[in-house]
Symmetry: C2
Subunit: 587 residues, 2 copies
């Protein structure tokens, strides 16, 4: 069996920055070459970042991406790396718009491609066949699908090349692969992180390796891009399902793995499969040590995703620092801890904005948090700013309470305007679900670090992060009191969240059923929740859609995040409830 040395580069591209992204690929290729690799691959769209969304319908963008691929081939050659076969993902076009199948996308002028570079030229191209158009993905909107499988012959081994979704779907390139008898299946990916997704992704890779009797080399990009976090976690699995190499999550990494693959035979190729012969790189005799990362437990993975999502949003958009309000509550405490882990406490500015309803406990909890983390900390009391407004407008009740939250929003935005901070808004997923926040008040901000974290998980994170600190001999960041006291918005005397909302255990249960599992009212009730509570909660969820539409983005960690993952009308009069138990229909 011929031995092939594969190098998989987990790069962290910035959408649009072709020069910087190309440079990342070039640098990683240099290391791959130095490590003696025969074949080097980076992720899907590593050249432009992912997702590019409707940039794919801007012809000049596609031309620039195409030219950047040619330029990269030349740069590799000029850097003495021309021997190395390099696979890079990028959009390509513009092509004539085409209507495909029974769908149609008159705006689609692009293809989602992998190009193979060697000796200063593009040697071969593959176009993604299966275009995901669900969840956060809109690829059928913007891409023309490919219709061929590409096989690269290198050092006597046939390497089939596909892109991301192609691996998840039966039929198409995988069906052709079974006929074409390749030794290695190389998959380039831009696969966003979700909680427990490695429980799905690794078994998939393993299953495909076994099914197709190939060594599967899976390379994913890494980094935060708006509401998505790509976790890397690139992996190589042999045809028996054994992990040969695995990259760590959430950081840039070059994974180099030797594989002993079946020798290519000269059987006739099935239709719609093309084969390109690559010249063999010079042999480099070195021995590799194992590089098999073991991912941390689920909570730590999610925390790392939140940290990277925030860090990349801050850094890719050029913010010097972040600012957030510290109420003494659990949400702002956890958000501050994430921010400090992401960009360092010296770039985090906390502001305590007490009112007459803020308890002494809350103020000292905020003080303690700031001290524990070591962030910049100031206090801006709001009573004197709120009173003139309440008085002039004769506001009472909720209308008056909202002014407190909105003055806090003005303060944070004012500090942002003065100093260039990114404002973090600290609402959790439970709050966002039921609209338990003041729009233009505590929801004001450019990024929402715990937007996709339900309240119960916020508490769990707080305890876990404190334990982690303790286990490292560091000061636990979150004050115990912030974790243990009853949650309150503190907009009126002795208020607690449970004056208005059901207990969080019940609330998060109903929300999971209604939002994540998409159950109707009757089916949620059938789970055992109280009818009145279900009606109350689902009504709140429906009515808060307009607020969510105006909310800040934040990292998706669940299978159903707010934003493009869940697209619902604002104007919606729910009068559409049958009895529980929807039956599958046959016609």
């Amino acid at each position: 069996m011929p031995r092939l040395r594969l190098a998989l580069g987990q790069t962290n591209p910035v959408v649009g920055d072709l020069a910087a992204n190309s440079k990342q690929v070039l640098e990683a290729a240099r290391k791959a070459s130095a490590a003696g690799a025969d074949l080097f691959a980076v992720g899907e769209m590593a050249l432009t970042g992912y997702p590019i969304e409707d940039l794919a319908s801007r012809p000049s963008f596609l031309v620039a991406a195409h030219e950047a691929v040619d330029a990269l081939a030349r740069q590799l050659q000029e850097a003495g790396l021309g021997d190395l076969a390099v696979v890079v993902g990028h959009p390509d076009g513009p092509f004539e718009p085409r209507l495909i199948g029974t769908s149609n996308a008159p705006t689609a002028i692009a293809k989602n491609r992998a190009s193979v570079l060697q000796h200063g030229h593009v040697t071969a191209r593959y176009s993604k066949y299966h275009l995901p158009n669900y969840s956060v993905f809109d690829e059928y909107r913007i891409f023309i699908p490919g219709d061929e499988l590409l096989i690269l012959r290198i050092k006597g081994v046939d390497v089939a090349l596909i892109i991301c979704e192609d691996l998840w779907r039966d039929g198409g390139p995988l069906a052709k692969l079974l006929e074409a008898d390749a030794g290695v299946l190389l998959v380039i990916n831009a696969s966003p992180f979700e909680r427990d997704k490695d429980d799905v992704r690794l078994p998939l890779v393993t299953r495909r390796a076994v099914e197709t009797d190939t060594i599967v080399a899976y390379v994913n990009i890494v980094g935060g891009q708006d509401d998505l976090v790509f976790d890397g976690d690139s992996v190589v699995v042999d045809a028996a399902g054994t992990i040969l190499g695995r990259a760590p999550q959430f950081i840039e990494h070059l994974l180099v793995v030797d594989v002993d693959a079946a020798a290519a035979s000269d059987t006739e190729l099935p239709p719609a499969v093309s084969r390109v012969e690559l010249s063999d790189p010079r042999a480099v005799a070195t021995t590799l040590s194992d590089d098999i990362a073991v991912p941390p437990d689920g909570r730590e993975q999610v925390w790392n995703a939140l940290v990277l999502g925030l860090r990349d949003y801050v850094d890719k958009n050029g913010f010097p620092s972040v600012v957030l309000g510290l109420s003494g509550g659990i949400d702002s405490a956890v958000s501050a801890a994430i921010a400090a882990d992401a960009i360092g406490a010296d770039r985090v500015y906390g502001v305590s904005m007490p009112s007459q309803y803020s308890s002494d406990g809350s103020r000292s909890d905020a003080d303690d948090l700031a001290a524990n983390i070591g962030l910049h900390y100031t206090t801006e009391p709001i009573a004197d700013l709120v009173l003139p407004i309440e008085t002039q407008l004769k506001l009472t009740g909720t209308a008056a309470e909202n002014v407190q939250a909105r003055i806090r929003g003005i303060i944070l935005m004012g500090l942002s305007n003065l100093h260039g901070h990114l404002v973090l808004t600290t609402g959790n997923k439970t709050e966002l679900s039921v609209g338990y926040s003041t729009i233009y008040g505590d929801s004001a901000g450019g990024f929402a670090p715990i937007k996709d974290v339900p309240k119960l998980l916020v508490w769990e994170f707080a305890r876990w992060r404190n334990q982690l600190a303790a286990s490292r001999g560091e000061t636990p960041p979150i004050p115990v009191n912030s974790i243990e006291k009853p949650p309150s918005a503190e907009l009126r005397p002795d208020q607690t969240d449970q004056d208005t909302l059901p207990p969080y255990e019940v609330l998060d249960g109903i929300l999971d059923a209604y939002i994540t599992r998409k159950l109707g009212r009757a089916d949620v009730i059938a789970l055992g929740f109280d009818t009145e509570t279900v009606d109350f909660v689902t009504r709140l969820v429906d009515r808060a859609e307009w607020k969510r539409r105006q909310g800040a983005i934040g990292p998706k960690i669940s299978g159903m995040a707010f934003g493009r993952d869940r697209r619902l009308p604002i104007t919606y009069r729910p009068n559409d409830e049958p009895l529980p138990g929807a039956k599958i229909r046959s016609s």
Copy 2:
């Protein structure tokens, strides 16, 4: 040639309200029957409203829609309308998710359907074949496409039934229709209004009638649904391209037209075409008078779209009234005039919120506007509310200016919280494009009536609306001074928009090229715009994406509105500019 009496019902459904929407269909069917119609049709998704977005992935919603169709059939029968053949659009399911073609939508469990009801039962069903997945449409995300053409035989005439996008695409049902030799092509639609869309839609209907040698009956829903406005404009065109009947735009209407169609023959049906025989309704001998509406000029159409979009958002969401800030400027003046046209001046609350920088002219312009329109009008000076904040936070420059706008936002939201008003935000498309607004300040609000109207068009509307009033002998609503004075945000002494922005003629030209026409920087410059100005403007557009994401919805009137029509990343470092002139690529 047999004569068929067709009735097309332009109903205005509310998304989700199956009971109310069914009642609309039932009432229109009653009128259709009284008018002697043989076949009565309402629009695509008339039973659930459109677009239902991801409600289509909620099984209970689909069950409820399916049951509502059965119930409607029974109600028609019970109302003595069982003889009438009724075609109604609705989603159906849940079906097993299927992967279709090279795309895939594991979440799609619904079909977009037309059901034919007669004698208390569903007699036939058609599933939409071509699923639009571009612009504002996401149908490939949520629907499983159909694969057959349905032909209804009624009174000796073959009526082919298709849905919306099916009419726009060659191939599929239209290709089958050419073989199947029907006399009438009935198309049910949910086709949103766009400026000048009737220049495209009517010629399409006419062309299809000629191409297929059929009488085309096109029925569209009417009404506002979030950012879309459906204009109705239902039409019947004969095979020579002559308009036999046309409904007015933007109102509910029953269009009844007699057509003399080719008699059905008993040629064999092509594959994937099914035919259902309907029983003939009792004959009713009446004579119809012509019902051929002539649409008003383009400006009036757009105005009517803005008016209906606002009215339906207010009424369908149950707001008693709207509130908006009146600055004396043109944007708030035009917004107020739209609001008064939409829901009546007595449901419109205007608030003047002058600062020390507001000119006397602006104040009196706001006063004049309020008096002209006759809306509720109060004044809330902001100086005493702004000063404590500026002082405590030591804000200067833009940071201080933004406080003025944000205090105004707090005032309007406070009044909304007290009285239940919907807050209107009055930014125009040009402002939104370049981010020339204060987030959580003047952008605060639930609905943005002129969000898709560029500044130059705002002025045009103001002049046109005043002329219309004059021609009717009414008081022109917009003060002349608001139209003629240089636009200003009035956040500092003697400020005008053109201190910061290029002249609006230039600005709107660049924006049209960059946003609507999707040209890259170099191609915009090649149109003759100044390089520095193009760089300045396109940079502003890119950087304002985060603000637009948090903006209110408003009616789409252009071919490229902000919102789901244009999906771009926030994190985007534009470094992707080739030379001008993108060439179409062949591979």
